[in-house]
Amino acid sequence: MAVDPLAEIKVTFFQECEEQLAELESGLLAMEGGDTDGETINAVFRAVHSIKGGAGAFGLEDLIRFAHVFETALDEMRSGRLAPDPETLKVMLRAADVLADLVRAGRDGSAVDEALAQSLGDALRGLCGGDGDEGGEDDSGDFDFQPVAATEPKAPGAWRIRFRPRGDLYARGNEAGLLLRELARLGPCEVELDVSELPPLADLDPEGAYLAWTVILTAEVEQAAIAQVFEFVDGDCELEIGPVDGEAAGEPEPAMDVSALLARIQSDSPAAAEAVCEPAAAPDAAPVETATRAEPPGSQGAANSNATGATIRVDLDRVDRLIDLVGELVINQAMLSQRVMEAGLARASSVAMGLDELEQLTREIQDSVMAIRAQPVKSVFQRMPRLAREVAALTGKPVRLVTEGETTEVDKTVIERLADPLTHMIRNAIDHGLESPEARAAAGKPAEGVVRLSAAHRSGRIVIEVSDDGGGIDRTRVRAIAIERGVIAPDAVLSDEETDNLIFMPGFSTASTVSDISGRGVGMDVVRRSIQTLGGRISISSRPGQGSTFTMSLPLTLAVLDGMVVTAEGQTLVAPLTAVVETLQPRPDDIQGLGAGGRVMAIRGVYTPVIDVGVALGYRDRPREQASVALLVEGEDGTQAALMVDQILGQRQVVIKSLEANYRQVPGVAAATILGDGRVALILDIDTIVAASRGAEPVRSERLQAAAG
């Protein structure tokens, strides 16, 4: 299989570009946030510099041109000639967006907004004081060499070159012999060595230069070609290049061929290129300078991840397979435990103890494997600033996006599905949440709105919040629209919170004109559905005049759960342990009726709603008469309820199996799992069960009752 190595490198280049673009953006944002560390601006410069360098190798002209002007502006900034004030940084950020588009255009052939690129290019040039040096690249090295002889229009057939190196020439690693060899490549040479300045051996400085050469080169070449041979050493030697006027061979100097000359030089002259034995002090000993240049990596963890341990790249399929296998391992281990118990082996028997150890080990393996797929949410959060900028530009509302908790880790499967909901929510926050600059001014708020995006771990789940400091939910309007759409009855009494949550109803939009930012209007109901399919919940809280906060809570991973195994009407169910506060054994008369059909129980003096799980899921019509066990559960919003179950069988870690993969979402059920006996048990969705019991009819199904009986 013939693989074009250059094509492979091109792939690497585009991958690297994505990394550099991310560094570029985060560095600019840090600077916008007040970061003045020199290393930050250097990193930003290097990012664009790298992209430009690679682009040059692949001939991506548009990208090169833009990157060049961008790089020039950044160079001005890092040398202190251009101040990183907010206006300038905003231009830089938008330029970074255009740069990203150009990179992707180079990779995928996608379209670029030419006008935008042009205007930002001009803006960047303007920042550099107009001239921005749009010139193309110099090619191979043009040291400022001083033309020694008058330039002649026609290349004469022979040249005389007089060459006397100075000590620095050798100190920089150049070698006279090699230069002469290069010269010889241009044509036949006659070389004469001048040793007149060579002192006696005792007075010789091993680092000194005492030799000089005169070379007659017979070749029809331009003087520039000869000068180019010496381009590296210009300034470290005396060099004279002149045409030989008419004088051909016949000069009194002995003709020696170059190789013999080289041999002679290398054998008897103490050229510094050889004798490096005495560690004399380096000409410009600047070890101190070096130490100060290599600044300690910025403690703010600015952009660069300082090689925090080796990493390897792994095929995601392999990780997924590993996780599936570990899941099966957990199930099998549980089944084994169960069978051992049923076989009647004593708890203290070696088999039982061995099984305990196995369970411990399996759990550890599972934790480790889960951690492989865990990723910081940063990868999703990273796309948001650009989105915010675009929406801000489209709506004409200045916005600042603040992100927190980017290092919070979540399973990869969850992360990928976060992008869409987050995008919608941020669009919403800017488009609907924030008021216009005029309205904000009138309300005494700063013109720039703030949208805050944060992620954190809280009680075994990941909580993501999107909040804005806008006007909050207009409850009167929401209520009116809900009544108009028939979502609620005209005389329904709703708490503020319930009113706010109306916006999650399908087809609900308070915008009088559909803001068609992406070409499609999206409602919060779609967002809620996406979050729910991830096993998560979303709620909103709003303060009129101050802003709104959307809170999403998601499971850390989609794969395992610590659960309490219970029974209700013969059905085995699993309640997520994170939702269970405690278990109680109430007496039947502890439970009191409230209204028609409602039941409550006093728990340490507080009246708490009582829900019969069998009834809630439709397994039976009426709550059980006999004494039951109560699970005091707490939902995401903090409200508590007592779930009545028939029996508690124990606590287990269970592997979550999707119900939706082959069927669909079932109300009251979050997912399923497979118990030790191989049977499927449903995992309860505590929040929806509690919510359903608050107002709606309990779920009814004759079929279920028959099956459960």
Binding site: D324, G327, E328, I331, Q571, T572, L617, G618, Y619, K657, S658, L659, A661, N662, Y663, R664, V666, P667, G668, V669, A672, I674, G678, R679, V680, A681, L682, V699, S701, E702, R703, L704, A707, A708
Partner: protein, 154 residues
């Protein structure tokens, strides 16, 4: 294997099974495996013909009582009943039937159009009729076996 006379057209294989006194068949390409009946875990808020879910090598498989789905009385499942595991529109579903009879190879011409009878079931699910050795076998299309909302969400 029965081979009704085939004139032209591509042959395809069908698997035939029995529900009560009637015989049906489905395209074998949709069938993943045949299993014996195991008790299913009931699902709340499901139509009557969805018996519940069972564990199929670690995956959760919904079981549709095909008799109930086709409009007959619900099946009283026993160990001798059979579950046909089928792939329907990207989901794997188990179909509860009485017993599997045969594998047929036919070509399209031998399939007769469904006669117009007063049965919703017939109209929705039966794609055609086959006459095989004097028996009538109804060809069932599986696309609508699952509850309707599922397809809207899909």
């Amino acid at each position: 294997m029965t081979q009704p006379s085939a004139t032209e057209g591509r042959p395809r294989e069908l698997i035939s099974f029995r529900i009560g006194a009637q015989e049906f068949c489905v395209d074998i390409m949709a069938v993943r495996e045949i299993r014996g009946w195991t008790a299913a875990t009931a699902l709340p808020q499901s139509p009557a013909f969805v018996r519940g879910v069972i564990n199929l090598r670690g995956a959760v498989l919904p079981i549709v009582d095909l008799a109930a789905r086709l409009g007959f009385d619900a099946t009283e499942a026993t160990d001798r009943h059979v579950i046909i595991v089928a792939q329907i529109l990207g989901q794997t579903v188990g179909l509860l039937v009485d017993a599997v009879s045969d594998i047929l190879t036919i070509t399209d011409e031998v399939v007769q159009p469904t006669p117009d009878v007063a049965s919703d079931m017939a109209k929705t699910f039966v794609r055609g009729l086959l006459a095989v050795e004097g028996r009538m076998i109804s060809l069932v299309g599986l696309d609508h076996i699952l509850p309707q909302e599922l397809q809207d969400a899909a």
